[in-house]
């Protein structure tokens, strides 16, 4: 090996080594931020109980609220409660603009009285399980969020409404029909 090629090889090794140092340095920066992320994660999970595990009703209420806020402001939201084993689900179905000929049979009298909430109007109703095909129609249109569509979307908020779910809805909707 001539002196020139030996120098070139040494230079190559040095460059390789410098590249590796850069790589390791980048990895250590990522690891350092991972440590900070983990501290935030621990704190959030263990020290802030309201952000971590909370009671079942509270979780359902939070999810319902989350679902409601996905609807555009000014829209009418139908909170549809589905009874029965695995169909114990509530859907937040919102439609903009509100349509008098919504394809759902509202079986609950209070559903006729919209309740203002976060700039939207809520209608509560128990879904009539004798009309199952409506579920398919609702789900098929779940993602249809174009303006003017009759059923804007649906967000499922709970598996089990009864008995815990009722508590959750009471958190949002009190006996006088006001939203807390």
């Amino acid at each position: 090996m001539t002196e020139k090629t030996a120098d070139a090889a040494r230079g190559m090794r040095a460059r390789l080594s410098a590249r590796r140092i850069i790589l390791v340095a980048m990895m250590m920066v990522v690891a350092l931020f991972a440590l900070l992320d983990a501290v935030r994660f621990f704190r959030r999970a263990w020290l802030l109980p309201e952000a971590g595990v909370s009671d079942r009703a509270g979780q359902i209420a939070a999810a319902l609220s989350d679902g409601v806020k996905r609807a555009p402001e000014g829209s009418t939201i139908l909170v549809l409660l589905l009874p029965g084993d695995y169909r114990e689900i509530a859907y937040v179905v919102y439609h903009a603009p509100p349509s008098p000929d919504a394809p759902l049979k509202l079986s609950s009298p209070e559903s006729q009285a919209p309740v203002p909430f976060e700039g939207r109007s809520l209608l509560f109703a128990w879904y009539d399980p004798s009309r199952p095909p409506e579920i398919a129609k609702m789900l098929a249109s779940r993602n249809d969020q174009r303006p003017g569509s009759r059923l804007g979307g649906a967000v499922m908020v709970s598996w089990r409404l009864a008995p815990e779910g009722e508590t959750a809805f009471a958190l949002l909707y009190d006996a006088e029909g006001r939203v807390k």
């Binding site: 980048m26 920066v29 991972a34 989350d66 249809d144």
Partner: protein
């Protein structure tokens, strides 16, 4: 709780049985995830075939599935006791541990404990309830032939989504004798832990015993795995989504294929175990099927570049055929299921792609940058975290070692990562505008899509860190 623990242990024992039968040897940190992954897949596949035959997932059936590997393990224990033969079930790691490994292990354990704690909440995040958990309940309460799977008038959402997660959840319900949608979420942190173990095992081969634990620990804290910006932790290991299981199966499959490629003329059993994990990925989420195909294509590409003889390609082609054969019952059954709002394959046309390039490409790039770097698309920077620093670091590493990225077996991971990114880009291009507003969709899936290939991205980083 006891039923859940029994179910999880039964997955490990089923996997152990399969590993024994295949005489596949791997180090502790890869063997444990393989046991869990193969066990989950075996149980889900057996039960799927059983359900397909018109069976109902009752408690006696679940007990029989659970008791079989326990009986085998007890029988083997007696055999070893009286005959003193056979390899130990768990060969303890013989290597000396260093301080970095201990610190990183403690760090990962703390994270895993937190993920487990967070998982013990109701499955309130969207897909966990309305897709995976919902299917599990249909399977448990009714059968695979329930109206909810087939009737056009009574569908649940996404009837054609794969059934691995719903079936193992339904298996847990059947063992417990009732639905417990809260405890069943204990399964998902196990996938998370197994993913970390597999990544550590592979990273160690390339980056060594000091850098590998740091890499794996950093991965453990990536926010899409632990939690995310949305309060319900959608997609994370505690949410009940199938994204972490998919990432686990796909990454482990890629690791095994990489090992097979690394050992020229390597053991067929490593290759076939990799195939099983890829098949499991395809049975976990719809994305898994093209990803499994992509992994096979990437492996074939590497072999062709090496100019191997046709004979050396045969095991790989046999593995592809075996994966397809295993998935065939699912694929046939899926073909008969209605598609209600997402039909991507039919939109994969020149026109569809051209429409996507004109209308979706900008939003895809915007969200990709937003979710994988500290840059805000609206301008400025957001507070950096490990996740948003990792991707620019990987891009920089690939730029520094551009030649090495395409040399030897590293090319397999590079091609896989590149192909995976391209695949997701194309799929997002053809998202039907009638089903999704693209910005709305990207808002809550971009980090999950990145998570799917984050495991192989980490392996690529480890490969580039390698001395050789």
């Amino acid at each position: 709780m006891i039923a859940m623990a029994m179910a999880i242990i039964s997955f490990f024992l089923w996997g152990r049985l399969l590993l024994r039968a295949a005489r596949l040897r791997a180090e502790f940190f890869l063997r444990v995830p393989l046991m869990f992954g193969l066990g989950c897949f075996a149980v889900a596949w057996m039960l799927f075939v059983f359900l397909l035959g018109g069976g109902r997932l009752t408690q006696p059936i679940a007990f029989a599935v659970c008791a079989t590997p326990f009986a085998a393990a007890i029988g083997e224990g007696f055999h070893r006791l009286f005959r003193g033969k056979g390899a130990p079930v768990f060969a303890p790691p013989r290597r000396r541990v260093n301080a970095v490994q201990v610190i990183c292990l403690l760090f990962a354990l703390c994270l895993a404990a937190t993920v487990l704690r967070n998982s013990q909440q109701l499955p309130l995040a969207g897909d966990a309830r309305q897709i995976w958990g919902y299917k599990a309940k249909i399977i448990y309460y009714e059968s695979l032939y329930s109206e909810d799977f087939r009737s056009a008038t009574q569908l649940h959402q996404h009837p054609n989504y794969p059934l691995l997660v719903p079936i193992i959840e339904a298996y847990c319900y059947a063992l417990a004798g009732g639905v417990d949608d809260l405890r069943v979420k204990m399964l998902f942190p196990v996938f998370y832990i197994c993913l970390l173990m597999a990544l550590y095992a592979e990273a160690r081969r390339h980056a060594g015993p000091v850098l590998a634990p740091v890499l794996a620990a950093a991965f453990a804290a990536f926010y899409p795995l632990t939690y995310n910006m949305r309060g319900l932790g959608e997609g994370s290991a505690s949410s009940g989504y199938a994204d972490v299981p998919l990432t686990f199966f796909y990454t482990t499959g890629a690791i095994l294929l990489l090992r097979w490629l690394s050992a020229r003329g390597g053991e067929g059993r490593t290759l076939f175990a990799g195939g099983a994990m890829l098949a499991a990925a395809a049975f976990t989420k719809n994305e898994g099927l093209p990803l499994a195909a992509l992994a096979c294509v990437a492996a074939i590409f590497v072999l062709l570049v090496r100019r191997v003889s046709r004979r050396e390609l045969i095991p790989l082609l046999l593995m592809c055929a075996a994966v397809l054969a295993v998935l065939l019952p699912w694929l046939i059954w899926r073909a008969g299921l209605p598609v209600i709002d997402e039909d991507y394959p039919s939109r994969l046309t020149f026109e569809g792609i051209r429409y996507g390039l004109a209308n979706h490409a900008g939003a895809i790039l915007k969200y990709s940058v937003d979710r994988s770097t500290p840059l805000r698309t609206t301008g400025g920077f957001k507070p950096p975290d490990a996740w948003s620093l990792f991707w620019p670091a990987l891009a920089a590493a690939c730029s520094l070692y551009i030649v090495r990225c395409f040399r030897g077996n590293t090319a397999f991971i590079t091609v896989l990562l590149g192909g995976h990114t391209l695949l997701y880009f194309v799929i997002l291009l053809v998202v039907p505008p009638s089903a999704w507003d693209i910005s709305n969709l990207l808002h809550f899936i971009t980090h999950r899509l990145f998570m799917h290939f984050s495991g192989i991205a980490l392996i690529l980083f480890a490969l580039l860190l390698s001395d050789s």
